[in-house]
């Protein structure tokens, strides 16, 4: 190890100093630092959106920072492409799998570094042997000639790990490496990590899982909202200390929550299960109630919402509406039961960006009725759309403006208008205020609480702690596809939510 850096004897192999990165409208990283010692595992912790993955992508050469410096073995490091990072001795396991289907395990691991014979041709025999040696050393039982598309997700993850190890790098970054693998494989991964540690490699380990942190990490650093909070040895703190560091913000925003009368149960979900994704999810929502769903990335909250609305129906468990079993196999079934679903990503699954506002507002309404002699009853539809857009105060010159020209907040209001026109009794909102400005945010909050006051049952998934705390009557917390607990409005705190969300 460290032959590239010669006689380097410093304390830290990788130093991140004052790094700043801005994306349009968001300061993803604001002067953060991170210092990694060789031969240690350094866990990087933080809530969703704390900036962990952004920093890792900067170190691995996927993004370039706007300011600050990264030093590797004492020398300033400038990586512009992933190749630069690999060449300087930094390898990374990305959060999402990055493998080439249709190619073999061996080809995936050694891509760009294939052993060549004297004619300059790829020596498949030697490549197979090298793969077998590597997999053998790591105790991974896989055929080097297996095609990656035939592997399970866990096996693919092990290939990624083997590939990252094969670079013989001095620093190895692992971004949520256990999100797709089972208990037994986690143990296996930890054995590999301990072996790498003993060979002097510095490991950055990003995780949401508290127990993993205490089992494997020597030190940890916490980020919050793109800012550095602190670094401590993991032996000197408790789980609760870390949670406090992760959530320790002052809640200054005011929420317009109105206390309204909560009536009978409208939607009840019993033991809903989508094998391999979420298990035994049960909850109910009553008339006029706002149920917040909190959880970290990978808690599968959105998958539950999609299952209830019939986008990806869950094969096991029951959905009851007004106490009667409802068979929901597609979104139009859900709509027939009076449901509406504002999806998480308004650009990908919400708006028809290049169509105008009217087309966007009316798209859910026209799936039912509003047809005269085979033609759309456009006059009535337009009138309703205009009225709704005015009620929600969508800012647009007219309804013939293309939706892509609207601000994020107005796009979101437009999508809510789309669903309100269907007069829903159950409204599922997935991240209703993500990425929109403060003004629009509070308008949407007022709207949501107003709807609840009118008797709509609301399910609101949100990753923003203040929003969940400020808006919900009850909070359901999820952790890796399971419900980990419920909190009432009066007992809920940031720390309690995070303890349930990060087991």
């Amino acid at each position: 190890m460290l032959d590239r850096t010669g006689a380097w004897q410093g304390e830290f192999i990788l130093e991140v100093d004052n790094i700043t990165k801005e994306f349009p409208g968001v300061k993803a990283l604001d002067g953060v630092q991170l210092k990694i010692r060789p031969g240690t595992v350094h866990a990087l912790m933080g809530e969703n959106g704390a900036g962990k993955s952004t920093l890792m992508k900067i170190i691995a050469g996927v993004y370039t920072p706007d300011g600050g410096e990264v030093r590797f073995a004492g020398q300033p490091l400038s990586v512009k492409t992933p190749l630069d990072a690999l060449n300087s001795g930094i390898a990374m396991i990305h959060q999402e799998l990055n493998l080439m289907n249709w190619m073999t395990v061996a080809e995936n691991i050694w891509i760009r570094r294939e052993p060549l014979n004297r004619l300059g041709l790829v020596d498949h025999g030697r490549m197979r042997q090298m793969t077998a040696d590597l997999l053998g050393r790591l105790n991974i039982r896989l055929d080097p000639d297996a095609q990656v598309s035939d592997l399970t997700v866990a096996q693919k993850q092990m290939v990624e790990i083997a590939k990252a190890v094969s670079y013989n790098s001095d620093v190895l970054i692992m971004d949520e490496p256990t999100s797709a693998i089972t208990e037994a494989e986690v143990e296996h991964l930890f054995a590999i990590i301990r072996d790498l540690k003993s060979r002097g490699i510095g490991i950055v380990y990003i995780t949401h899982k508290m127990n993993e942190l205490f089992e494997i990490a020597d030190e940890f650093t916490v980020f919050r909202d793109g800012k550095y909070v602190g670094t401590h040895p993991s032996s000197s703190v408790t789980r609760d200390d870390i949670i406090r560091m992760m959530v320790g913000r002052e809640i200054t925003e005011m929420f317009p929550k109105i206390d309204c009368e909560i009536g009978e149960t409208i939607l009840e979900v019993r033991n809903l299960t989508l094998p391999g994704v979420f298990h035994d999810v049960s909850f109910n929502v009553r008339k006029g109630e706002i149920l917040g769903i909190a959880g970290l990335v990978g808690s599968k909250r959105s998958n539950v919402a999609e299952a209830i609305f019939g986008v990806h129906p869950a094969p096991l468990g029951d959905i009851l509406i007004d106490g009667r079993h409802a068979r929901i196999t597609c979104p139009s079934d859900a709509m027939a039961h009076g449901m509406a679903f504002l999806t998480e990503d308004r650009k990908e699954t919400g708006c028809f960006l290049i169509l105008d506002c009217l087309e966007n507002i009316q798209s859910a309404l026209i799936t039912r009725g509003h047809v005269k002699n085979g033609f759309l009853d456009q006059k009535t539809i337009t009138a309703k759309a205009e009225e709704m857009a005015a009620t929600l105060r969508v800012k647009t010159p007219n309804l013939f403006e293309r939706v892509e020209n609207l601000s994020g907040g107005n796009q979101q209001k437009l999508l809510i208008a789309r669903w309100l026109l269907t007069e829903p009794r159950i409204l599922i909102l997935d991240e209703p205020t993500r990425g929109i400005d403060v003004g629009a945010k509070s308008e949407i909050h007022r709207l949501i609480t107003g709807l609840a006051a009118q008797g709509v049952a609301i399910v609101m998934i949100s990753s923003e702690m203040p929003e969940v705390l400020g808006m919900s009557d009850r909070i359901m917390v999820m952790h890796e596809g399971h419900v980990s607990g419920f909190l009432n409005r009066d007992e809920a705190t940031q720390v309690k939510i995070m303890s349930l969300a990060a087991k």
Partner: protein, 336 residues
């Protein structure tokens, strides 16, 4: 270390499975013609060496293009410009290949040049077209369909403008020799062998498959995706130019309309040969079998004295059937 074994081992990858399937289709079609031949014509379809060699000759020019197109499709792209590059290259190289002393030559001062001149200039021309395709796709990120559609129209226009629509004839004997007899087949086989090796045994090939299978993974593995794309399209342009030179030499004349629709035949050969339009899968061997299937259909229908119209219709059905079969094979694989 703990022995955390990964329970289910996947089936060992059988590399030649796809090719074997297509080969079976080829055998089936050939035998059908053989049987129909004995019934309707009273003679053998396959037992006629001359017919078989003509059959291969007919498809080998498009076959050269199909080799280049195969690697483009494996990388996840498409090349619609090959047919037009054939036409444009035919014009350019023929204008420099005219026999010594021919008065009505395009460049009267440049007749009787050594055969290397039209050959190299033609190949360079195609290479340049390919580089333009590749650079547009890699650096402006416009879809390959659009970039090569633009080149298709532009190169065809260039071919017509070059002599204001006049054909170019009277090549030197040495230039004509490039297309004589079975030369096109020989050239095709050499090209096919080179690219079979290149795709299977070189980094060039591995990168091509990697980009088609998952461009993001290729990038984080340190591959310079943009540069590789330029190379891939440059090679496709070069091979189209080679096909253009062979066509012109064989016909002893070059016309602006040469190579029309070749791009689609070449894509069809690759697709029938199991090259997936979503990228990452396929092989030169598969494309070669696809090419022979094409040849068998053309000469089979002629042999049975059936209208050429049927040929086209059957060709269309086979192209779609090949892709449908591939989709089903993939689905079945997933379930096992």
């Amino acid at each position: 270390m703990s022995d955390a074994s990964l329970a289910a081992q996947p089936r060992r990858h059988r590399p030649m499975m796809a090719e074997l399937n297509i080969l079976l289709v080829l055998v089936g079609i050939s035998l059908t013609f053989e049987i129909l031949g004995w019934i309707t014509q009273g003679q053998s379809f396959l037992g006629n060496w001359q017919r078989l060699s003509i059959m291969i000759l007919q498809v080998s020019v498009v076959g050269i293009i199909a080799i280049g197109v195969t690697q483009v499709i494996i990388s996840g792209g498409i090349d619609l410009s090959s047919g037009s590059i054939v036409g444009a290259t035919a014009m350019v190289s023929m204008s420099l290949a005219q026999a010594a002393g021919y008065e009505r030559a395009v460049y009267p001062a440049l007749t009787g040049l050594p055969v290397l001149v039209p050959l190299l200039v033609g190949l360079l021309f195609g290479l340049l077209c390919g580089i333009i395709n590749g650079a547009l796709i890699a650096y402006t990120r416009i879809p390959p369909f659009i970039a090569t559609l633009g080149m298709m129209v532009t190169a065809r226009g260039f071919a017509k403008w070059y002599t204001k629509g006049q054909p170019i004839s009277f090549p030197s004997d040495s230039f004509a020799a490039i297309g004589k007899g079975m030369m096109p087949v020989v050239i095709f086989l050499v090209v096919a062998l080179i690219f079979h090796v290149a795709l299977k045994y070189t980094r060039y090939g591995k990168f091509t498959y990697a980009i088609g299978a998952n461009p993001q993974a290729a990038r984080v593995s340190g591959i310079n995706v943009e540069r590789q794309l330029v190379k891939i399209y440059a090679v496709a342009g070069l091979l189209s130019a080679l096909a253009g030179i062979v066509v012109a030499a064989r016909g002893l004349t070059a016309q602006a309309g040469m190579g029309t629709m070749y791009e689609l035949d070449a894509i069809a050969m690759a697709v029938i040969g199991g090259v997936s339009l979503t990228g990452g899968r396929g092989s030169i061997l598969g494309t070669m079998i696809g090419m022979v299937i094409f040849g068998v259909i053309i000469s089979g229908f002629t042999f049975l004295r059936l209208d050429a119209y049927y040929q086209e219709m059957i060709k269309g059905v086979i192209i779609v059937a090949a892709v449908v079969a591939d989709v089903y094979r993939q689905k079945k694989r997933k379930k096992v």
